[in-house]
């Protein structure tokens, strides 16, 4: 197999991490194909493989298309729920049963004694996945790949892993414009700058229970709001020129922000601190207005996207123009882009 320079560089970069997640914009954006490609390309590493939540079914339930399975080599560590694990055609040596329960049984740490197709469904929570990664490392895994399983709008995986590869494709949108814009928006949100350490510290110390906190020049007001949704009035009414930061925990929606943008709230004198880029659910128009008005988001943890894998084939069989997607993305961002279907 010969790889392009872009991919060789990407693979080399992956070697510098201990954990990598594969996340997808939507179902059928080629996550498993990307994972299989990585498993094949990564040499001289004891791989650990798990997923967050349940793996996709054998066949896509709507379109009946065959979904690829994860093919692993001998000596690979996996963490998977018992039922899935026993359905694999790999011979697994059972190493440990973890105290993490899922609808498909406890999570098992196992090592493949033969190569073959594995079914992986991992823990469904962030903490569970952290434990799972630790357990695989205990048994010698030095590079753990986390499959983002079903697509979801709130990812937990990129926050647990050192780096992520984002899978996009025709399954998300058959309109190149929409696909590229959505991807750029995500990359933009994920790469929001991290707050200064002392601000992060203040956030961590005060936001254990709170959802909303106002930091002024010389005082702090903790909101009693149970959710940040629908708290635009409270945010607006707490504005003053002494307000330095607004700490928000949880999702930030478009409607919340439109209310703020349409009020006397001067966003240019305040920094909004959020957990991470996955919590932003703004459309690009509102976000541009926010930036134009001098607004600024900072986060606690930046999400490190090191590559974008494109699956130009839609489930209905329609092919998007990969070259067009690639050049549009490359003109805006400096992240390696590759076509997952060409990597066999």
């Amino acid at each position: 197999m010969t790889m392009s320079k872009v991919l060789t560089d990407l693979i080399n970069k992956v070697y510098s991490y201990n954990t990598l997640s594969i996340i997808g914009l939507e179902k059928n954006t080629g996550k498993t194909t990307t994972l299989n490609f990585l498993i094949k390309a990564l040499k001289n590493r004891t791989l650990g493989i798990t997923s967050i939540g349940m793996d996709g079914e054998d066949k896509d339930t709507i379109y009946g298309t065959n979904k690829p399975k994860i093919y692993i080599d001998k000596g690979t560590l996996v963490a998977s729920a018992k039922t899935s694990l026993l359905l694999s055609d790999v011979t697994f040596e059972i190493l440990e049963v973890l105290d993490i329960n899922t609808p498909l049984g406890s999570i098992i740490i196992a090592k493949s004694v033969s190569p073959g197709f594995a079914e992986i469904s991992g823990a469904s929570t962030k903490n569970g996945t952290k434990k799972v990664i630790c357990a695989m490392e205990k048994y010698g895994a030095n590079l753990t790949l986390v499959d983002g399983a079903l697509s979801r709008k709130t990812f937990a995986d990129p926050l647990i892993t050192d780096a992520s590869i984002l899978c996009i494709g025709a399954a998300f949108s058959e309109n190149i414009n929409t696909l590229v814009n959505e991807t750029l928006k995500l990359i933009c949100f994920y790469s929001l700058p991290e707050a200064e350490d002392k601000t992060k510290e203040l956030y961590k110390n005060n936001m254990e229970q709170a959802r909303l906190l106002f930091v002024y020049k010389n005082k702090i007001i903790k909101s009693k709001a149970k959710t940040s949704l629908g708290s635009s009035k409270e945010i607006i009414s707490n504005f003053s020129y002494d307000l330095r930061y607004v700490f928000i925990k949880g999702a930030i929606t478009n409607s919340l922000f439109i209310d703020i943008l349409n009020s006397h709230f001067n966003v240019s004198t305040v920094v909004f601190i959020i957990e991470d880029g996955t919590k932003l659910f703004l459309d690009m128009d509102s976000y541009s207005r926010f930036l134009d008005k001098g607004g600024q988001f900072q986060c606690l943890k930046k999400i490190n996207i090191i590559g974008i894998s494109v699956n130009p084939k839609s489930i209905s069989g329609y092919f998007l123009d990969y070259k067009a997607i690639e050049s549009r993305l490359k003109s805006s961002i400096n992240i390696p882009v590759f076509n997952v279907l060409n990597q066999h």
Binding site: K82, L85, L86, D89, I94, L95, G105, I108, S114, P115
Partner: protein, 493 residues
Amino acid sequence: MIDLDKKSLEKIGFFNILDSMCISTVFGHSLIYNLKQITDINTLSTEYDNIEKCITKVRNDKFYNNFTDLLGRFRDIRNTFIKCSLGEVLDEVELYEIKNFTLLSMELKQIYENSNLLLTGITLFDLSAVYKKLNPHKSETNSFYIYNDYSQFLIKVRSKKASIDKLLFKEKDLNKQNELLRERASMINEEKSEEFKIRKMLSSEILKYTEKLLDFTSNIGKLDILFSKAKLAIDYDMCRPIARSKNTIRMKNGVHPIIKNEVTKRGGIFYPISIEVSLGSSVITGANMGGKTVILSVIALNCILASLGFFSFAKTFEFFPFDFIYFLYEDSSSPQTGLSSFGSEIVQVKKALEKLKYENGILLIDEFARGTNPEEGSNLTKALVSYLNKFSSVSVLTTHYDGVCTLAKKHYQVKGLKNIDFTALKTSYTSDENYLKIINNLMDYTLEKMDKDAVVPRDALNICSLIGIDSEIIKIAEKMYTGRQKNEKQTES
């Protein structure tokens, strides 16, 4: 468990004690809340012997930590054992768990035997035969899969599958690839069915041991409980109880660890309680706030624990294996009955008296008939005390009523505020002081054995005056006191 309602056990602080124990295993946890009362003196004695043996081991930090850590590593796979005993075929993960269990069991057995503990009632079966079945290799492992060693056929199928795998990834032609995939699929079917046969064979081998495996889990639980009883005994400096057939309770320096802890936290001192009561009724009198209820709680707690094979919270403790124990205290009646507090108290006493007629037990009653008018209350208490003397059960009552103690077999009194000079005290404190705290500090909680006809102390008035209730009330009350004393003298002469 013990035949006493949950609310009373809570009041006594029994569950607090259980909760504070260092139980390491799920098997221990399922036993601790279902401990059986031991009514045989010899069985009690062997249980205390067991604890004594464990105590020496618990004092050895290294041994204790290793041992409890090992116990904690056993997973609860009783359901797998049961599944196996019903003839079901176990899967790889279940076989792995059994392998791990047996490996740990061998380790535990070895440590236990090396320790020379020789605890009565603990038998750790040798399960190495099960382990050997699941570990066909010579080298010791705790992981598991269906090893090639189990069948020649399996080796054949697996190597065939491996060669197809090699071809499959070299093959570029899609048709040929599909052909190979089909071939691979049939190999996998053969592999799986061979694996099933092996799992079936292993399951039926393990089936022979399921009883021993289950028995092992309950022995882990028993060991766990014994060690946590021993740990408790060390932590609280508990004593080995002495069980006798004679219906007597003799306690020297008994304490209630939970109450003691609270009192010490408040900055107070918990006075250990020494008391001896035997068949018939004994009465405890004493000042208000003198801790009479605590005394009953300590007696109840130690009796219950000792009968469940625990050591006692005391310097020495003697008791007898009782058939029942009743603890009647304020609020012990359930409000749902719709009876007044007096009414429900009587219902409770009636129940206890029924038992008393046929069985040997312990009856602890806190301030009987406090809810009715003092004259009737006093008469009723006197009647109850003399009635209780007829039975071989041990009854202890606390009361404020005069004249009750004369009818009891024994009379104890809380020293209370007896030796305090109140007039001097009153002037030396300002009214801003926290009088409750002063009273707590001055109160002598120790019990002293009194003559049957000793008078009930009159500390209530002193306490009122210390707390600073309106002095007019005190004056009127004092007049009544002296008036009554004069009357009494006149009738005497």
